[in-house]
Every structure is written in structure tokens, then in C-alpha cells.
Symmetry: D2
Subunit: 354 residues, 4 copies
């Protein structure tokens, strides 16, 4: 295409005239095309530039989206005054440095999950975002699904009753990540859901795991999150399962819920099933009453979760709305993940969460 330069110039001028947010995206890997597509479909923003150090990836953008600028150097994007906000979709270990530079350059920042490699990094970014009065958000896409939104409303509306446990299984024959273990790869989804749904604060965790590659990066790991109230959460993560399972059990004293994300049309099943207990004063025994009842499968909102997330980010910037997946929720996930590292390295020892 001969005159793409002219075309892009024209587009950028238009963006400013129309007062749309101008978005830059760093990293065009597996998730990149989805980010481009969703930010492009929002009416209040435009994707200005995508950066990826791999030329074959920037070539792909040029082919599929001829009106988007590309660069192989993220600094170009960070230093571009036309860009208001930066989406960082690169490996975790690069998040902190890129996000810090972007905030210092007065950009709003959206980070892919998990937020950073350490709690200290996440806290430093949060402080910086507060100083600079910029939006800092983490792409916990799952929070924007129809399923999780339904769970939230069931809990808030009192349907579930007092929630007693959260049990997540997220296993499949997955890619062994070279830099983070299976908990850092898979558990952020479920930990962010846990924190979003449950107001209670965890006080400690235990984690165990094993590495079958002897590079000390666990490919199977188990995490328990403990709460003073007696609520308990557990996560089973594996890259080495022959079957794919994405299942969350949530038990309340009124209803119990199964969230099976692989079900095409029946993701959320609500069981009018439960138990209650009382103490038989005379015999000093615990008596438990069981109830097995109807099941109800609500139709869920079917709009794309990532669109909701992108929209939440741009609305936070434009209108100052508090986003669902805000920087604090990103930090809480890192706190649990960092503690899980420590527990695994200490043979499953309980690690207190500050």
C-alpha cells in the first residue's frame, strides 16, 4: 500500500479533532489481536500504534489493520505525545519496567495479568499512578464475563447466602511457560474472581507443587487460601492434564453453584442444595440437615468480556469511574502469588498475607 503514511497521518489528526482516546499497545502475541479488535470497536478510543520487537508480528498488524501504526521499539510508543494510554501485553517480567516508564511519561496503563513479578513492583506502580493521577488497571478479563457478573449479583443479592468455600480446578495440557510457574500462569483468573466475589480478607496461604522439568518451575501446583472466618479457597492448577477442566465450585449456606466455563450454554448451574447444622445441646452432638433441591441455569449475558474490560478502562480514564479490575485488585492477586512461591519453597508452610 503506497500511501499508508498519508492515511495514518490523516487518522491521527482525526482522532485529536474527535477527542477520542488514543491507545498504544505493547506486545502483539497471542492476546494482542483480541486487544486490538476490542479497543478498535470502542467508540471513545482508537488504537494508535502497536509495538512488538518481532518484525513478523508488526508485519501481521500492517496486513490486518493497515490504519494502525507499528513499531519494533516500545519506547517510540511510550514517548509519543499523541498517545494517551498504554496497554502492556508482554511477558510478566517486563511489566514493571514498561509500566513505570509509561506512567512517568504520563500515560494511563493497562497491564496484562498478572500485574507484576513481585508485590514490591506492584506497590511502586500503584504509588506512581496515584502521584501521577493516572489510571492503572490489570486485564483480569474473567471479571467481565457474563458468568462472573452473574455470580457477583447472586452473592450480592443474597441468593447464595453466606459463602463457605471456593474450589477451583484449572487444568489442561498447557504450554510450559519458561519464566513463571503454573500458578502464576493459570491461577490469576481464579484468584481475581475470588477477590472480586468475596469481601472477606484472606490471612494466609499454603501451596505445594512439583516441577517435572527440573528447572524449578512448577507445572502442577495446589494453593489453599485461608480466612479467619472459616471460609476456604483452593486452587488446582496443572499444565499436564490429559483433559481440560475449568471448574469452580462455590458453596453458600443457601445455594451452591458450579461454574463450568467449558459448557457452551450452561456455564452457571445454581443448586438449591445445602446443609445446615445445629448442636444438639443435650447430646452435645452436631446435627446436620441436608437439602437437595431444584437446579436453575440462568441465561447469561453474551457480550464479549474483553470488550467490557476495554470499555471499563477507557471509561475510567474519561469519566473517572472506578474500574472493576483496578490496581488494588491486581496487587491482591500478586500478594497471593508471591506468598505461594514462598510456601512452595518452604514445603507448604503457611505464609501470612500482610
Amino acid at each position: 500500500m503506497l500511501n499508508s503514511t498519508t492515511l495514518l497521518l490523516l487518522k491521527n489528526v482525526t482522532l485529536q479533532i474527535m477527542n477520542k482516546l488514543s491507545i498504544g499497545i505493547i506486545g502483539y502475541g497471542y492476546w494482542g489481536p483480541n486487544l486490538v479488535r476490542n479497543f478498535s470497536s470502542l467508540s471513545n478510543c482508537k488504537v494508535h500504534t502497536v509495538a512488538d520487537f518481532r518484525s513478523e508480528r508488526t508485519d501481521l498488524i500492517k496486513k490486518n489493520n493497515p490504519t494502525i501504526n507499528t513499531t519494533n521499539n516500545p519506547e517510540d510508543l511510550i514517548n509519543n505525545n499523541e498517545i494517551d494510554a498504554i496497554v502492556i501485553a508482554t511477558p510478566v517480567f517486563t511489566h514493571f519496567e514498561l509500566a513505570k516508564k509509561a506512567l512517568l511519561a504520563n500515560k494511563h496503563v493497562l497491564l496484562e495479568k498478572p500485574m507484576t513479578s513481585t508485590v514490591a513492583e506492584a506497590e511502586e506502580l500503584i504509588n506512581l499512578a496515584e502521584q501521577k493521577s493516572k489510571v492503572l488497571m490489570v486485564d483480569h478479563t474473567f471479571l467481565y464475563t457474563g458468568a462472573v457478573q452473574k455470580l457477583k449479583s447472586l452473592i450480592n443479592g443474597g441468593t447464595i447466602g453466606k459463602v463457605k468455600y471456593f474450589d477451583s480446578t484449572r487444568i489442561n495440557l498447557g504450554l510450559f511457560q519458561p519464566d513463571v510457574n503454573v500458578l502464576w500462569d493459570l491461577a490469576p483468573h481464579d484468584i481475581s474472581i475470588l477477590n472480586y466475589l468475596i469481601d472477606d480478607k484472606p490471612y494466609s496461604i499454603n501451596a505445594t507443587g512439583v516441577s517435572h522439568t527440573n528447572n524449578e518451575i512448577e507445572n502442577i501446583a495446589y494453593l489453599t487460601v485461608n480466612y479467619e472466618s472459616g471460609f476456604i479457597a483452593h486452587f488446582n492448577c496443572s499444565w499436564t492434564s490429559p483433559v481440560k477442566i475449568r471448574m469452580l465450585l462455590l458453596g453458600g449456606d443457601e445455594k451452591m453453584v458450579v461454574f463450568n466455563d467449558l459448557e457452551p450454554t450452561e456455564k452457571i448451574k445454581i443448586y438449591d442444595t445445602g446443609y445446615s447444622h445445629k448442636t444438639d445441646e443435650e447430646k452435645q452432638k452436631i446435627l446436620v440437615d441436608y437439602r437437595a433441591g431444584d437446579v436453575y441455569i440462568p441465561k447469561l449475558e453474551s457480550k464479549e468480556a474483553l470488550f467490557g474490560m476495554a470499555s471499563d478502562f477507557t471509561n475510567a480514564i474519561i469519566n473517572g469511574d472506578k474500574p472493576i479490575a483496578d490496581m488494588q485488585s491486581g496487587l491482591e492477586v500478586i500478594k497471593i502469588l508471591e506468598a505461594s512461591n514462598k510456601s512452595i519453597k518452604n514445603q507448604g508452610k503457611e505464609i501470612l498475607l500482610s
Copy 2:
């Protein structure tokens, strides 16, 4: 029935003439009728007497099995010289005392799972059985299922390759036991399978759990069993799940297996799926190769597992065969369970297995 006394006398004389083993059963609860039915259908033994302290239960036996003696006092049975072997199907906390008396009275003993309440008790019974040269066995029925026998032959035959992990989920809306927690109630099945399938010895465990009844008896618990070889086993047990799951994943470096015990006809699925890794010397990176292939569902032996267990017990007595579910395997289960108690009470701390 007027002359039942005469009838029973006749039967007992016949037993001695025919040189059949004479079995006494203590405890006629949920599992009792199955024990009576299976021991009655063996050709080399007969059920002589069933004891239960509840008259409504012994009345039921009289109604259903008029040729079996009953008593409300287990001592009658233990002290009866016509009885060769005693099956103890009572609550766990009574196992030790009853089994000890039976062994001292020179009876062979079969204990329902779990074997005893403590390792010390199990070890004392084993010593006693050895002194008395009596068979002491534990009813780990699952070891006799077509499914577990198939798993054993797949592993022994080398089909699975080197086994890397064992991941069990056994959850449902279950009865809260008043005396033992959910691990003691549900995990013995899977721990006995683990020990039967895997020759490797575990060196430690971690366990976490929670009690929602505040009687300190956990209704949800998680157990990890650690091995020096890098093999790992995990158990997820709950009495408070809205759905019933009985699933075991077993991963080897040649094949992976899913054992779903709720499947009527496809309990065992063998996946020609796996991964192998090597180190890229030059780049010092771990490279992982994935393989997703065919699936094979073998037809399983369909005979009743409990019949196989009963037969193994009587053959051990008559022929001196070593039974599958022998006393040592019973002890190994108790060692893990006792350690799990300690770990839960110590916030998930690693407990070494002696």
C-alpha cells in the same frame, strides 16, 4: 418361623462337616448387607452370626436371612468357637478394641476401612496378627474393582510409562461423620489406590482443611503427598459439594489416564497424550514437546469388587495367599491420615512420614 433354632443348629453342623470357613460379622449398618451377601455367595465359607447392638438391625437380618444367627453383643461372636474369622464393620473408633479381642481369641480379622484410629493401634494389631499367625486384612474394596485392576496392569505392563502425578477428587453432598473428618471418611479409597499402584514411598504430606460445623471435624480438606522422586499426589475431599465427583487423574510420560468412577461404561480413559522435555544446552532453556493423540477406553471386568475382596480374605485364610489389601497396606493409609491430622492442626505444615 417356629423352628429357626433347629434350622440354625443343622446349618452349623453342616458347616463343620463340609469344612467351610465360618464367618462372623460385627456391625450391620449401611455396608453390612453387602458383606453378608458376598460372603454368603462364596463357596468356601458361610456367614455364621451377625452382631449389631441395635435390635432393629438384627431383626432385619432375621427377616432377610433366616439361616444366619444374630446377637446384640459382639462378645458372643468373638467367643464362639464355631467361628473362624470375624469381619468388623463398625465405626472406626471401635476397630482397635474389637480386632484386638478377636485376634486374642484366635480369629482371623477383616476390618472395614480405615483400619484404626491411630498408627500405634494399627501397628499393635499387626504385631498381634503376626504372633497369632492370623490373617489381618482391611476392606479396601476399590483395589478389587475392574478399574483399579486395569490401572495396575497398565502401569505394570509399562503402558503408562513413568507415573508423574496422581490427582484425586472425591466430593459430594455427603453425610457429616460425627467421629472422623472428611479425609478419614473419603480419602482411604484413593490413598489405598495410590499405594497399590505406585511402588515409590512417600516421604511427607501437607494437608489443609476447614470445619464448617465448628466441632473441629473438617468437612472440606486437601491433602498433598510428596515423594523424593518428584512424583506428587493430591486429594480433594468434601462433604459439601453440590455435585458428585469421583475422578482420578494419573499422568505418566507415555500415557495419561482419567478414572471417572461415575461413568457407567467408560470409567477408564487412556490418553495417548503427553509431553517430554529436554534442555537446550546452548540456550540453557527447557524445551517441551507436546503430544495429543488417540483415546482408548478398555472394557473392564464387571464382577463385583466386594466379592473379590471377600474371596481374597477367605483364600488368604485357607491357602495362605498374600491378600491385595493386606495389613501393611492398611497401615500405610493410616500413616498418611494420621499425618494429615497433624498437618491440618499445624496450618498445613509438612509432616514427614516415618
Copy 3:
């Protein structure tokens, strides 16, 4: 047992004193033990005698139920004045003759499904039962299941709306019957459900099928039942499917239902799903609106269906209640089956139902 004669005599006298119905059962095959167990557990009747021409079957009864009389000659039972009602669980081709003799001997009669081999036979029995003022009923057990009772109440209560179709699949690797084809063997269940649920009267049927044994007994057959109202019913029956399917789809203009009888806990799923149509007057086109909504899985009554059927039979005799599976409903099933024979032999030709 030496004095079984005395014992039985005692029992029969007691029956008369207590004014209980005395039941005789002819045929102790696959279904026989279930009939004995359920009639025995009713408080208003007792099983007096079971007849089977095979001595190994009557021996089995003696062993399992020592208080029940046995005979190898059904005439003994028919001619026994102590017996009030006779249950006939023999091959279909013997139903008519046995039932006729029983009615002529002033017995109430319960026939296993299907009622008879021909419409003429069924009609003759109905006439005879009316003349003799005796209860004549057919064991369409499915009508007494919690699932079918729930469907009936959903339809009667208006939840489903106007029912538009009924689509049944009942296939598995089944026993090839030597005397009746797969429709006569498997379809009576679903035809009886159809007639019970739908008040509308069918006016014709079409059937096709094939015999893979060349004895002209079809092992695969398809049946369509046509109604003037536009309602349609279809039945897919096979003895030669690798998978077992027991599924009924029921579509109304308010809700649609799936009845999957193999689901242990979710047999009935009610879909708030549908379509409505109107004609666009201007464009003379049909416009269809779709609705996909929530799903609801009601908890079903769990009592045994056969107990309900047995109870309905004895109540009809004692209290004169009209039974659910009455003789007319039995006849309607035979009308459709007889017509299906004719249609299959005439290459699927439509056969009108009188």
C-alpha cells in the same frame, strides 16, 4: 425347610382374616422379582403364589421368598379361590389366553406391557372385564415415575403451553426378542407416555423398519404418529445401537422439555426456549421470533415407579379408583403398534387409526 407347608397354610389363613388382597403372579422372569418385591411391600395385599413353568425359577422363589407358594402350572393359580387378582408377566403372545381365563375365573388382572398381540384381543379382554366388573390394567410403569408425573403436571398446569411435538429415542444394544419386533418391545413405554400426556387423539401412523436377522422381526424401526391438530410424535427404536439413549423431547409454545432417563439427577430439563410466528400481512411472509432463556431442573419425586403402579392396581380393586394405566390406555398402545406392523409391511404407508 421341613415345615414350609404348615407355614404357608398359616399365612394364607392370616391373609383372609386380615382381609388383604391375595395376589398371584404368572411368570418369574426378568421383571418377576420386582413385581414380587413391590406387591409384597404394599400393606393392602400379599403375594399368595407365583407360577413359572421353569422349575429353576420356582426354586429361586422358594429360596428368596420362603413364604410364597409356587407352582409350575398357571392353571393352579387361576383356579385357586384364595387368589383375588392375577399379574401376568409372561411373553406377549400368551397374554390373551391367560388373561381371558383369569377374568373368566373372576380375577382382577394386571398385564405386563404390551397388553396383547392384537387390538381384537385387547378389545375382547376389555369387554370381558366390563362384563365381570373386574379391574383390567396394564403395567405401563413409566407413567408412575416422578419424571412423567412432573411432565403431566407441567402440561396440565399450562407451563409448557400448547404442545407441538413429542420426539422419542430409545436405543441400545438390546436383546433381540424372538416373538415381537423392536417397536413392540421398546415403544410401549413412550407411546403410553404420549397418550398419557397428550389429550389430542392421533388419526394415523407411518412406520418403517428393517430386520437384520431375516426372520422378519425388525430390530430397527421408526414410527411417526400424526394428529389433525398439527401435533406430531416420532419414535426411534433400536436393539442395535452402540450407545444407550433414553431421550424424549417435548416442545410447547411456552417451554420445551428434555427428559433424559439416563441422567441420575437431572432427568427433566425445562427450557424457557421457544419460537412464535406471525404472518407479515403486507409481505405475506411468516415471521418467526426466537427465545433462548433460562433452564430449570426440578427435583423429582424419588419413590419407585413400580410401587406406584402396584398401589394403583390394588387401590383400583379395593376402592374402585380409576387407575392411571387403565385398560383403555393399554388398548390405545396396541392400536398404534398393530398399525405400525401394517405400515412397515406396506412400505411405510399411512395407516389410519380407527
Copy 4:
């Protein structure tokens, strides 16, 4: 984009220089984007122009594929000398006229399924294609799936044995088509699979159905295809089912197969299950032996079926290869569909296939 005209000119010249096939596509509805994407990804052809009479659809093409010409008049495309082959993806009733014009204009033609509205039309097109020596093909995409290719090789390799039946269920809450009934809409997939897999020729069909919209267009219909050999095929099609089912059962005397197209990873299950029969000469009875064995789930080729179909079409043009979904197979489908219309209108009467 200002200079799209120049751009397109450049592209078309390049096509001729590179000697690539130039494809025109008529109709850019639901299936259009898939056709454009697959033909565009082939190395031996290029999509030259897409025609759709709706401007919003041609605008969409311009937006998504700026290098493809568009027109609202199919004649433009048919009369364009630069175009070698035409893909017709319009409503069925327009197929004949468009295809005839295209063949007369010396184009190769690919028709969406079903081929035409009548057998006469299909035969006229076939004659014309033969006269003009042009490729005429029908897009029976399913024949190119890994699943159907696996079935074909299982049958040809003798694994299945002699095939005895074919039973297809293709139901869901589907769009009511305004011009063709549910059999014409859904059954072509399965009829084309049937004809591809089974060499035997059908001799007649029976069909029944019902229209719930009273426009005489059936939304539920059942079709039986009869063969002299005793093989039988049945099709259950509905636009009004609350659940989506895409299931094909295929029974051979060696193995039976379930093809469940909704299974993400286990589409084909092969059952080592069957029955064989012989006649007991003495008793003149049929004896049937059953076999229930292992199940095997082969990994399937995962390439996109439509790509295979597109490739088969262009290879047929360039190399003269006989395509899988050739015009004769298209005609055979129409013969069965046309006969089904006649049977439904004649109350299910058997219609002979010429």
C-alpha cells in the same frame, strides 16, 4: 481509501501474470466470509470479485478485504472475462439460473448445498457442464472434515465390517427458512455423508413432517432411506429443538461408530460392539450373540474442512482431478430431497428413486 481502483487493477494484472485461478463469489451472507477467507488462503487462486445485491454486504467486503472487487449485480461477475470460476452462495431457488448463466459463460461453478431446487435443474446443469467441459461441484463441506474422512477410511479399510444402518439426528433451535423446509436445510449434510460412505444405492424413501407455521414449510421432518440390501438410513431434522444435537450412528457387523459433531475432541467413537446371528436349524430360531468391547477415539485431522473443499475445487479445475463432492453426488442428494417432498405430501408414502 482513495486509490483502491489502482490497487485492484494492479492485483488483477498480477493474477494473470502469475497464472492463478480467478474466483468470483455470488452471495455474501452467513457463509460468504468463510468462502472468501478460504479461497483467499489457497496459493493457486485469488478471489477477484464478490457480488451481493445488498450494499451493506458489499460495503462490509470493502472494509474487511480492500483488495477484492465488489458489485451488486451478479451479471457483472458472470460476464467478466478475467474470472475463471464462480462460487454461488445464494438462496437455493436462485442456484439454477445463476449456475446456468455461469456455465454458458464458460465458467467453472461451485454451488452451495443443496445443489438446486429440483432434480430436473440439477440434471440440466450436469449436462451443460459436460458439454462445456467445466467443473461443476457442490459445497458438501462435511465430506472434507477429518471426521468423515476417518469414517470413510474405517469403512474402506474393513474396520467397520458390513454397514447395516445409518441414523442421523440434526436438531436445534434453528432459523426457519422462508423458502425450503428443514430437510432441504439440514439433511443435505447427512445425505451427502451417507452417499459418500455407502456404495450401495438406495431404492426408495419415506418421509413425514409437520409445519407449525402453516406455510406448508415443515420445521420438523423425518426421512427413511431404504435399500434392497437391508441397509437402512434415517434422518431426524428439526428447527424447534431446545437442545442442539448433531449425532450420527453407524452400525457395522464388526464395529459401530458414534459421530458426535459437537464434541470438541472426541467426535468419533468406535465401539468394538456388535451382534451376530445364526439360525438354530433344529429349533428354527434366530440366535443372536452380543459383544460389548473396548472403545477407541481416534485423533482426527484438524485442518479446516472448507479449505479442503476449496482446494478440491481448484485442483479439479487446474489438474482435472475428480472432486469428492462432484456434481453426481450433488444430484443424488437432490433426488432424495425431491422424493422426500413427494412423500411428505402423500402422507409418508414410499417414493421410488429412479
